[in-house]
């Protein structure tokens, strides 16, 4: 795996992250792309606002960036991530497309080959499947199969993972799927701070990036710096410190893991939560360092178990931490069935806190 250069701006410390409160996504004002001012150079933003700020700032900075997708312009985006960008940048740079994922994904590859930096929104990553050939056969391989002649600076973004009660065709998590292919970078942030810093870096990358947002996290709020910052691709983050068991959790699962960790703490088990933030390249060093401390590891993800991110992390840990582990690496994933509609079945399909608690207890022989 190629090591990606660290961005030039200094990386600020991770701000404290509290359990989120929900705000109304339909009426949230973008207020000139500003969050709610707080003291000491901080602002309160939702993940949605954090992403929008990243797009706004980078589009201001680089005229070759344009954003294209279904309802990103006049409708302000299905999830309002692109709200007011049309007003700010005009129809040349913020473009509503027909429902034609393969077409606009391929168009973006051609635009990237001819000097532009496209951002394409998949209204949901589930809708990236009609564009799969363009992402895999064209975007991921172009740099290599042209001997480095045509790098593809392309940001593909949209919500990933299960929405509420949307059943089988709208609930996929694609981290493992897209991580499989050399040439793609896969980012899956869990907080507004991470989302903004990583998206800004992604827009300065010269590679195709799958930026996996999560519909259920768009309303999550956090105090983040008002000043510009970037976060490096390929660096994870400790979301909670603990000595007894490492939980590697991705995207929305970070929040379920935090919930599980609080419950486990009451029983005397202190979990350390590692958020890789980028799945490819994966910060296995950070994960291994934590596992060497705790001797136990549970991976929590919304992908399926077979060939999931957890399978990869478990395999890498047995290379790096074979003598450190006191228990097999546990995996809490979406169960291996298409997402059912019924509430009780959906709840049991997802890697919810009760399943994480059980997996940690198993790893701790508790």
């Amino acid at each position: 795996m190629t090591t990606l250069a660290a961005p030039a701006l200094a990386v600020p410390p991770t701000p404290p992250f509290k359990a989120p409160r929900s705000i109304n996504n339909k009426t949230e004002p973008l207020n000139g792309f500003k969050g709610i001012p707080l003291e000491e150079g901080m602002q309160l933003v939702s993940t949605r606002m954090a992403l929008c700020q990243a797009l706004y700032e980078e589009m201001k900075r680089n005229e070759s960036i344009f954003i294209m997708g279904e309802e990103v312009a006049e409708y302000n985006g299905a999830y309002k991530v692109t709200k007011d960008l049309l007003k700010e940048f005009g129809a040349k740079r913020v473009i509503d497309t027909p429902i034609t994922e393969s077409g606009f994904a391929g168009l973006a590859v051609g635009a990237a080959m001819t000097g532009l930096h496209p951002v394409i929104e998949f209204m949901s990553w589930n809708f990236s499947f009609p564009a799969f050939d363009q992402i895999i056969s064209n975007a991921s391989k172009m740099c290599y199969m042209t001997g480095g002649m045509f790098p593809i600076p392309l940001l593909m973004r949209g919500p990933n993972g299960a929405g509420p009660r949307v059943s089988s065709q709208h609930s996929h998590a694609v981290e493992a799927l897209y991580s499989h292919f050399p040439g793609l970078i896969v980012i899956s942030p869990s907080t507004p701070f991470d989302a903004k810093g990583l998206m800004k870096t992604a827009l300065r990358e010269n590679n195709p990036i799958c930026f996996l947002e999560n519909e259920m996290l768009y309303n999550y709020e956090q105090a983040i710096p008002t000043a510009e910052y970037l976060l490096p691709i390929g660096k994870g983050d400790i979301k909670r410190s603990g000595k007894d068991c490492t939980i590697v959790a991705i995207s929305r699962c970070v929040h379920w893991a935090l919930e599980a960790a609080e419950a486990l703490a009451k029983e005397g088990i202190e979990c350390e939560i590692v958020d890789p933030r980028t799945i490819k390249p994966l910060d296995i060093d950070l994960i291994a360092t934590s596992v060497r401390k705790t001797s136990r590891c549970v991976v929590v993800e919304e992908c399926y178990r077979t060939g999931g991110v957890g399978a990869e992390i478990a395999a890498q840990l047995q290379d790096l931490c074979f003598d450190d582990l006191d228990a097999p690496v546990g995996r809490v994933t979406t169960t291996e069935n298409p997402m059912p509609y019924a509430a009780n079945l959906e709840n049991e399909t997802l890697p919810k806190p009760h399943r994480i608690i059980a997996a940690v207890k198993k790893a701790c022989y508790a």
Binding site: S102, G103, A105, T146, G147
Partner: protein, 352 residues
């Protein structure tokens, strides 16, 4: 399905499509193009033909492996179009049958042959092979191995030209077999919707892999039937005739430069199989012979001789010069090194 049940193929010139075929006055077009430019185009067609014949021979000698899709018989189509393009400002993209477009964009036969040989001196450092020729400088965007996969890429190049206001156009070549793909229809819709400076050329060589076009495509005349559905202009022409190709290209490029996208069908024919591994048993020897009698290179050569712009001797001299160039390319390729193993991990990701 046996070959005998395939509908009989007929040369474009006497097919049912004559009612939509673009008509040219050969003498007038000849005069318009002029002697030097026509001889230059003739030379390029000979270069493409000899390059590919030699590549086919090298394949038989196992100097080249993998896929090798030859353009032999179709040379007039791309040659007529590239004569109106400014590679660099104008972009081009095509399928895996990409040797002609790369040569016409101005790439050196040496680097192309070396790519076929899988050498480090190859066009893309031995990473692509026959299906993946590219040039950043000439905006030659490939060389694509998935049927129809290049069509949105060409559309993206047209989008870029419009976005940046370069005045450039994008020319996307595809086969008849790619016209049923979703990417074709999605691209035409976007081009028509956004008035992109895009030209799409369906090179109907009558077979999509081993299946006759008439058994795969619901309409007879692809461009004439489909262009109106996407708000594109259209042309249909005899792809074995350089004058038709050149004249249609002249009009199409002018339209695209003004923001009117164009869909074109060239009725053409490939002499070889889909790839070198295809013996083409789905067609008769008679059919092949009928088309070879209409060979686009012989046709232009005879016309130039009749016009007094070329003699049999000067045509032979051109051929000889081209053959020497190809031999030099083969020698260069043979003498070049394989890529070092350090190439394995190089360029998986680009540096920022």
């Amino acid at each position: 399905m046996t070959a005998t049940s395939t509908p009989a193929a007929t040369p474009a010139a006497d097919s049912d499509s004559t009612d939509v075929l673009f008509q040219v006055d050969a003498a007038a077009v000849r005069a318009e193009i002029g002697k030097d430019r026509l001889i230059a185009m003739f030379k390029k067609m000979v270069l493409i033909r000899r390059f590919e014949e030699r590549a086919g021979d090298c394949y038989q000698q196992k100097l080249i492996a993998g896929f090798l899709h030859l353009y032999i018989g179709q040379e007039a189509v791309a040659t007529g179009f590239f004569d109106h393009l400014e590679p660099g400002r104008d972009a081009s993209v095509t399928s895996y049958r990409c040797h002609a477009q790369a040569l016409l964009a101005g790439l050196d036969p040496k680097e192309l042959m070396a790519e076929l040989f899988g050498k480090i001196t190859g066009n893309v450092r031995g990473k692509g092979g026959s299906m993946h020729f590219f040039s950043k400088e000439k905006s030659m965007l490939g060389g694509h191995g998935i049927v129809g996969g290049q069509i949105p890429v060409g559309t993206g190049a047209a989008f870029s030209a419009k976005y940046k206001g370069t005045g450039g156009v994008s020319v996307t070549f595809l086969g008849d077999g790619a016209s049923p793909q979703g990417t074709f229809h999605e691209s035409l819709n976007m081009a028509g919707l956004w008035s992109l400076p895009a030209i799409y050329i369906v090179e109907n060589n009558m077979y999509g892999m081993g299946t006759a076009c008439s058994r795969a495509v619901a309409v007879r005349d692809i461009a004439a039937a489909k262009a109106p559905g996407y708000n594109l202009a259209s042309f249909t022409f005899d792809g074995l005739d350089l004058y038709s190709s050149w004249k249609v290209a002249q009009q199409a490029v002018a339209m695209a430069r003004k923001g009117k996208p164009v869909l074109i069908e060239a009725k053409t024919y490939r002499y070889r199989g889909h790839s070198v591994s295809d013996p083409a048993t789905y067609r008769t020897k008679d059919e092949l012979a009928r088309y070879q009698a209409l060979d686009p290179i012989e046709r232009i050569k005879n016309d130039l001789i009749a016009a007094g712009w070329l003699t049999a001797e000067s045509a032979e001299a051109i051929d000889e010069e081209v053959r020497e160039r190809i031999m030099a390319a083969v020698k260069f390729s043979e003498e070049s090194s394989e890529p070092p193993l350090s190439e394995l991990a190089r360029d998986v990701y680009a540096e920022r």
